[in-house]
Subunit: 486 residues, 2 copies
């Protein structure tokens, strides 16, 4: 095939167009292939001759060719030149569906670069992960898991399809568990999901409408909320003080829009700020939401990680179906279990259960049985107690370290539970540089603007992944880096 002559292109880009020239070239070539004009095997002209015949920079051609190559539409090989290698599935990649849009464009693109670095570096064992939102693997309750799996192996007799809401035995166990959080509910009000993220997806595709606004704390873990944006909703942030969300500031946001709004909040041990909403603020917030008919999604992922007193959940204070509560085993037991649950009015749970069945036929039954065993055996509670003790010690150590080495450099809040300390630098450093220098010193940071609606000078520190001495050693190094950059 090497002796096939390259095709000719009789076309010039529109240099006045809003569409970048490299993109016009990508579209042209896709159109030629889609129409069948260029079959699989067709040889493209060399980059040099393309550059000449189209009258554009060589680098523009390279960008277009690289993009088409990354999609698997064309491929270059020594001697044979660049050829069309696929004309079906791969050709669908460059088109602009809403998800594509989401994944590859806009505000999140920038964030995604940092997030992608983080995702990659998390697999590097030499890194000290100072901001990770995941439990230290050394805290994994290996013995308990062995017990649970053995028990499951002795009792398991089938794993068929489950009913739409999820395993009844698990929903019953969650009812009992929710009672310990002050929430009286029934199995018919509970939907098992594949983690809390899926619950957000179900809500956004089944209940909300394009143009709605999802109000969140600012900062919040925006990445987990991209699902709302992909369904055509907007996100808007409202700041916090030490008592939590400054709910009164929502009023202005709500005036601006004719569309529906909903509130997404993590009232307890918030990610990433570590702030827990005070009891009074909770009452006031709920009253505000009732007065303004503002529905609430309460994310309780970190609620069970209060070291001392556990505040009342918003759901426990809700007597008119204002609050959908989301629970999860990801932060307390294991993210890999992929088990979350939703507590909501029965008609809502029914609807979302039906939609879930159309998406994936429900969460893994094995995972559901395992979590049920954890709950009913008392091992979950025992594990939580041990975990909270460990995390409390780690938090105390982290705060001592910060008091000692960061007083001149930053401010922070003292968390009453969870994983995180939100550290705000006093001087306005170049945060990308800080990330880079920390990485060179084998410290993996989670920069604050991953969690924010705009650039900031904060870091999400986590004391959940590192033990005391690891945290302190890394934090001392970090203080030095910050000083040097100041």
């Amino acid at each position: 095939m090497t002796n096939i002559e390259p095709v000719q292109i009789d076309w010039k880009p529109d240099k006045q167009s809003q569409v970048p020239i490299y993109r016009q070239i990508v579209q042209l070539i896709c159109a030629k292939i889609a129409s069948g004009e260029w079959a699989v095997g067709t040889r493209l002209p060399s980059q040099r001759s393309l550059s000449q015949s189209l009258g554009v920079n060589r680098s523009t051609i390279t960008t277009a060719i690289d993009e088409l190559t990354s999609y698997g539409i064309i491929a270059g090989s020594r001697g044979a030149g660049t050829r069309v290698i696929s004309n079906t599935w791969s050709l669908m990649l460059p088109t602009d569906t809403s998800w594509n849009h989401l994944v590859s464009s806009g505000f999140f693109k920038q964030n995604n670069q940092i997030i992608q670095s983080i995702n990659r570096l998390e697999f590097d064992p030499s890194m000290v992960r100072l901001g990770t939102g995941e439990l230290d693997p050394r805290l994994f309750p290996t013995k308990m898991w062995k017990t649970i799996l053995q028990r499951l192996g002795n009792n398991i007799s089938q794993l068929g399809y489950l009913e739409p809401l999820g395993l009844l035995e698990l929903r019953q166990a969650i009812v009992a568990h929710m009672a310990t959080l002050g929430v009286k509910t029934t199995p018919a009000n509970i939907l098992i999901t594949s983690g809390a993220l899926q619950a957000l997806q179900l809500i956004s595709v089944s209940l909300l409408q394009r143009g709605s606004t999802v109000i969140t704390e600012q900062p919040t873990y925006i990445k987990s909320l991209q699902v709302f944006q992909s369904e055509g909703m907007e996100l808007a942030g409202v700041p916090m003080d030490n008592d939590g969300l400054k709910y009164w500031q929502m009023q202005e946001l709500m005036k601006k829009s004719n569309h529906k709004q909903i509130l997404y909040t993590i009232p307890t041990n918030q990610n990433p700020s570590g702030i827990t909403m005070s009891s009074q603020r909770r009452s006031e917030l709920l009253k505000f939401c009732v007065d303004h008919q503002l529905p609430i999604i309460e994310d309780g992922a970190y609620h069970e990680l209060c070291y001392n007193q556990q505040p009342a959940t918003l759901k426990s204070m809700d007597d008119r179906g204002m609050v959908i509560y989301l629970g999860s085993a990801s932060k307390t037991l294991a993210p890999g279990l992929r088990i979350g649950w939703m507590v909501a009015p029965e008609p809502i749970v029914q609807r979302l259960g039906d939609v879930k069945m159309q998406m994936d036929y429900g969460a893994s039954s094995v995972s559901q049985w395992i979590f049920r065993e954890f709950l009913t055996s008392g091992l979950y509670e025992q594990h939580l107690d041990e975990l909270k003790t460990t995390l409390k010690n780690r938090r105390d150590n982290a705060l001592q370290t910060l008091d000692r080495y960061f007083t001149d450099l930053a401010t922070w809040h003292r968390p009453a539970g969870g994983f995180y300390i939100w550290l705000t630098l006093k001087k306005h450093l170049h945060m990308d540089q800080l990330f880079k220098q920390a990485t060179e010193n084998n410290i993996l940071l989670n920069p604050g603007d991953v969690y924010d609606y705009h650039y900031n000078h904060s870091l999400r520190l986590s004391f959940a992944y590192t033990d005391e001495s690891e945290f302190t050693t890394a934090a001392i190094k970090l203080a030095k880096i910050i000083k040097k950059l100041s």
Copy 2:
């Protein structure tokens, strides 16, 4: 609160409108509540007085009130009348998002009534399930599961978040497994999904565009394809003969539309027809698809259940990225595992993996480890061998039974594997009546129009859930019922 006076409604329905009157009333009441005019606790007029003041039938009022009650927006109680009980989440239920539309309207609504009956009756232990698409729980390999879970318990040391494509160790095991199906691939070409259904969802939201047509065999398991419709695609069926899809009939369909088309096919042991595409038909189909640039989704859910010779997968014949192959453990091992996989070009797998991360952060790690253990230990293959022997015996018995009792009543195809026999009645009975009478005789049927684009006179029989004597006894009863109805 019982002494609050009911609100007054100063409004009349538009009797000329396209919108049914009960729906206008629902919308009116929702609007009153959404605007805040009617707060939670507001008492509605009695149905009698509503009927008078709006000038509509009492039954129309009842329909509207029932609908609002089913959504949890209002509730009636003795003495206190009907009141507004929720004004946030529940109020979102009657609105028309695309999913709502899908779940509650159109062609599928009718089907859904039968499907809902089936779903309910499947939990009734007195029913003989003669059409179920699920393995007999008595074939669940209890001992193997015990071994696997014990091994997992001894080795498990953490269950963190996984990379977007899924557990590498499982993808490696699937590469080896796919080699036995003639498909050479790499872990980078494999995406682990929560069952094959999720793979379809990922494809539809990430690659396809509204207005596209998904061509399927006719009949096919339409319910699993609703996900395409919910994303704005159309389904179109093409009939089969004994060699499989009559692909040449696609040409006409393709002429009709300017939009993209894709083909979704179950070439081996098709659900519900039991037909396996011949080797020659496979070659011809692939050539046709190459010539017409028609991308293929090959659903291999039943491929591993060929009792004798296993035909080549379309994927194994594909050298230009035309075919996305979907595998699943649901029909061979356990649906509750919720593990499926996709084999596709690397850029496609990358894209879909990113989107999956935004939906649910991946499939259960426990399930992934379990399936990996099954594959690498050889227990999966051993289980498949045993399973195929059992299913083959059951099929032989089913065919003998049909030969003996149904020759005058119906026609059918002899399946070479899988679960199903597609039985087409010679006389045009009222199928709903047949379903009902069978149910009264404790036989649960899966009527054929659940799988079809229009009403038909077929049944999907399954020999996977019942043993030989159960099948024969039920089939003899069924023959009698059919005769009586003829």
